[in-house]
């Protein structure tokens, strides 16, 4: 797996395929909704619907500890189980689930490189509509690890002070403020632009067309040489609603090995609507600025 900082968290589709008959892990598919999973999924995989199951449905927040325990235990996954995550959209939502698992202290979590897209591209890889039978177990999560998550107060403390990398993973038009949200999106904000000092690195730059992550050398070039991310600094990644940025959080922390990376899940829908917070518009600063 190239020479990623933490290669142990990434497994290939072949690795998973070889172990399907006798897996010593729990396969979990995470998609934006249940359509893809229902049409066909990896044998033995349970499916989580990101919209309805991975977020609090009333308050804008991640799942509470109790909600997370109920979800994971209800899927028959124990605290000591190895969980292999994968999903649609370049593993976008699987990365979000990875972040959530880590917030609640689950130790053995892996991501299947390439997700559904890579699995589908190989005609020999099986898919099924059979839903596995699960036996619910009691799951005890840790208290949430706040070091993985940035709140708006954290962001405001470090805006433009040069101590942090702020990584904006949205499209260039969203970054500059030309549009507030991608066309047709209903969740927008009051203002367009970006957090002052943020670097613009659209999230999909980290993956190949088959949805696997690019090799380390290329990621170094994209994030550091071209965009100026200083890997010795603490880092906060954000997007529009916090799902794309968890994908980049994974890249920065596990592939590039930046020690302290947080996902700002409130992201632009929160920041761009707050009264009186500093906003910058226009093109990104050059890498050595």
């Amino acid at each position: 797996m190239s020479d990623f900082a933490h290669p142990e968290v990434l497994v290939s589709t072949d690795w998973v395929a070889e172990r399907l008959d006798a897996p010593d892990f729990r396969l979990v598919e995470v998609d934006v909704d249940s359509q893809a999973y229902n049409a066909g999924h990896l044998p033995g995989a349970v499916g989580f619907n990101w919209q309805t199951q991975l977020q609090d449905q009333v308050t804008r927040d991640i799942l509470s500890k109790e909600q997370f325990e109920a979800l994971i235990g209800g899927a028959g996954i124990g605290r000591d189980d190895t969980v292999v995550l994968y999903g649609d959209n370049h593993n976008w939502f699987a990365a979000y689930a990875f972040w959530l698992f880590k917030i609640y202290g689950h130790e053995r979590v892996l991501l299947m490189d390439g997700g559904r897209n890579k699995w589908l591209a190989d005609e020999s890889k099986p898919l099924t509509t059979d839903v596995p039978e699960v036996t619910p177990v009691a799951y005890t999560a840790s208290e949430p690890d706040a070091s993985l998550r940035a709140r708006v107060t954290d962001v405001l403390r470090v805006v433009d002070d040069g101590t942090h990398n702020l990584v904006d993973v949205r499209s260039p038009d969203e970054f500059t403020g030309k549009v507030i949200a991608p066309p047709g999106m209903s969740e927008t904000a009051q203002r367009g632009g970006h957090i002052p000092g943020a670097r613009s690195i659209p999230w999909a730059k980290a993956v190949n067309e088959d949805s696997t992550f690019k090799p380390r050398e290329e990621l170094e070039r994209i994030y550091t040489a071209e965009a100026g991310v200083d890997q010795s600094r603490d880092t906060i990644a954000y997007c529009r609603i916090g799902e794309r940025s968890s994908h980049t959080w994974f890249v920065l922390k596990y592939l590039l090995g930046i020690e302290n990376v947080r996902n700002y899940d409130g992201s632009w829908t929160e920041y761009g609507s707050m009264v009186g917070v500093p906003i910058e518009q226009g093109a990104p600063q050059p890498a050595n600025a």
Binding site: Q35, A36, L120, R244
Partner: protein, 337 residues
């Protein structure tokens, strides 16, 4: 009244099944001379004949009938489809409709995977034709270069339940191209008596332009194959810009002489001109292709020649698009006070 199968006849135009009406060299779609809209715009070209090949007169109402029939035949030959089994395909329009109706005629099922942004009329038509629909959630941040969600979902159905679903895959299946080498191309050659000098078509899966390019260049390498495309950000249903070509494997640039970009507004003004001046009910892609032909002819001013434009389908499905681009169409539609 006999229930036995009658013998279909092109001569009398009496058929036992709509499948027997599918086009071929012996049963070509009509070509009609286009004069009015062309002459309205510029200098006359008395030595040049421009024709529109009316693909909406195919039995299932569009040029896609050709590809759809070939794709289903390909599945039959590979034993992937049969009574009680279904075709599954990502499609937002004509291909889905053609597939659904051909499937219905043959006793197969049809499942169409469509993006949510597809107009209501197309979704309803698919359901009317008996198709099951998967409507994709496109309320997501778009991801440049992302594998098209509808292609993946269709592939998933076919891979997870191969006894139930077979995916012809119009973007990769060469049967799409061969359909045009076997039907459209020979029809045009015969209908123009081998005199064709220009072929004007557009680009969706690239099946039409690649198939026609290969066939016609094989007959006469001097025939100019012109691919008319809309500009980026267009809304002409069914068409792609060259930058989106990565999504189809069928494009063969070696048989194409010119890729001509036309502003998509002209798809609608062009269609309107052809409808009003030549009494041909052109849809927006046909309007775009006409504008491409007009542009080439005004530029090159050939003294003689025969041009054939592929008019993919008619205007009926595109009322909302026409209103968007020609708002005057929506005026005066209520009783005056």
């Amino acid at each position: 009244m006999t229930t036995d199968r009658i013998v279909s006849s092109h001569a009398s135009r009496v058929y036992d099944s709509p499948l027997d009406m599918l086009p071929s060299e012996d049963n070509p779609t009509p070509m009609v001379r286009v004069r009015g809209a062309l002459e309205a715009s510029g200098p006359r070209l008395p030595g040049y004949e421009l024709y529109a090949k009316l693909e909406w007169l195919n039995p299932f109402a569009s040029v896609k009938d050709r590809a759809a029939a070939a794709l289903i035949e390909d599945l039959e030959q590979r034993d992937k489809i049969g009574p009680g089994r279904s075709v599954v395909e990502p499609t937002s329009g004509n291909t889905g409709l053609s597939l659904a109706l051909i499937a219905a005629a043959k006793g197969y099922g049809m499942r169409a995977v469509v993006p949510n942004k597809v107009p209501l009329a197309k979704k309803v038509l698919l359901k009317l034709a008996g198709a099951e629909l998967d409507v994709l959630n496109d309320n997501l941040c778009p991801a440049p270069g992302l594998g098209d969600g509808s292609v993946n979902l269709a592939k998933t159905h076919a891979r997870a339940q191969p006894d139930r679903y077979a995916m012809p895959n119009q973007y990769e299946n060469r049967a799409n191209v061969l359909a045009h080498e076997r039907t459209t191309g020979p029809e045009i050659w015969r209908q123009t008596e081998g005199r064709i000098t220009h072929l004007f078509a557009s680009l969706g899966t690239a099946g039409t332009i690649t198939g026609l390019g290969r066939y016609l260049k094989g007959k006469d390498p001097d025939i100019r194959i012109v691919c008319v495309v809309p500009d980026e950000g267009h809304d002409v249903p069914g068409l792609r810009t060259p930058s989106a070509l990565a999504s189809t494997e069928l494009y063969d640039e070696s048989v194409i002489d010119e890729v001509l970009e036309i502003n998509h507004q002209r798809a609608y003004t062009g269609a309107r001109d052809v409808i009003r001046k030549d009494a041909l009910l052109a849809g927006p892609s046909s309007g775009l292709i006409f504008e491409g032909a007009r542009t080439v002819l005004e530029r090159d001013r050939p003294e003689s020649g025969v041009g054939v434009m592929i008019f993919c389908d008619d205007a009926f499905k595109y009322i909302d698009n026409f209103i968007t681009h020609l708002p005057e169409l929506a005026e005066g539609l209520s009783p005056t006070e």
